[in-house]
Amino acid sequence: SQQGEEDPQALSIQEGENATMNCSYKTSINNLQWYRQNSGRGLVHLILIRSNEREKHSGRLRVTLDTSKKSSSLLITASRAADTASYFCATVPPGQGAQKLVFGQGTRLTINP
């Protein structure tokens, strides 16, 4: 089974709408992070939520974490065309090396003007 699986795999919405992406994982975690990747570019760190936190905000981003369901969601409010990108969750599982990030497959988000 894969650690860090996002759904949906692709999401297309109108500018101004909210976008919600989900991530599920299999093992326990130290923290969960969300990254954005514009086409063909590097990964940009968006937000980190620790295993003892339930919700975190950063600007238009809201991340929730439910460790009982082993899931997280990323909400982008009032979406803009510039938010078009792939979004990945990444986990740091304890006991598997405290350093490496384990990435999901990603959600491809398209914001239509």
């Binding site: 130290n30 063909g40 760190h45 350093q99 990030l101 990435f103």
Partner: protein, 112 residues
């Protein structure tokens, strides 16, 4: 704002050739990483480096791969004899704290 840089942005090489991918991490960072992303697939961890030695490596990081921090600023990934399946984007990352990783823009490696 300081950032991780990588060179070259695109490298084309023939199967069996050696390649060196270069990274300049953010200057006060202590942890260094390489990841790769095969087209259309997940970003996969290759190796982490701390205190001048490998601290963790994945199954992908076999004897064909090596890393070096030759001069205290650059961080390199060498693939000794490239295979077609090594074609991917290679990302370098660095961090001051163990959980925070800042990624470079990547090097696209194409093996023909």
């Amino acid at each position: 704002e300081p950032e991780v840089t990588q060179t070259p942005s695109h490298q084309v090489t023939q199967m069996g050739q050696e390649v060196i991918l270069r990274c300049v991490p953010i200057s006060n960072h202590l942890y260094f990483y390489w990841y790769r992303q095969i087209l259309g697939q997940k970003v996969e961890f290759l190796v982490s480096f701390y205190n001048n030695e490998i601290s963790e490596k994945s199954e992908i990081f076999d004897d064909q791969f090596s890393v070096e921090r030759p001069d205290g600023s650059n961080f390199t990934l060498k693939i000794r004899s490239t295979k077609l399946e090594d074609s991917a984007m290679y990302f370098c990352a660095s961090g001051y704290r163990i959980y925070e990783q800042y990624f470079g823009p990547g090097t696209r490696l194409t093996v023909t």
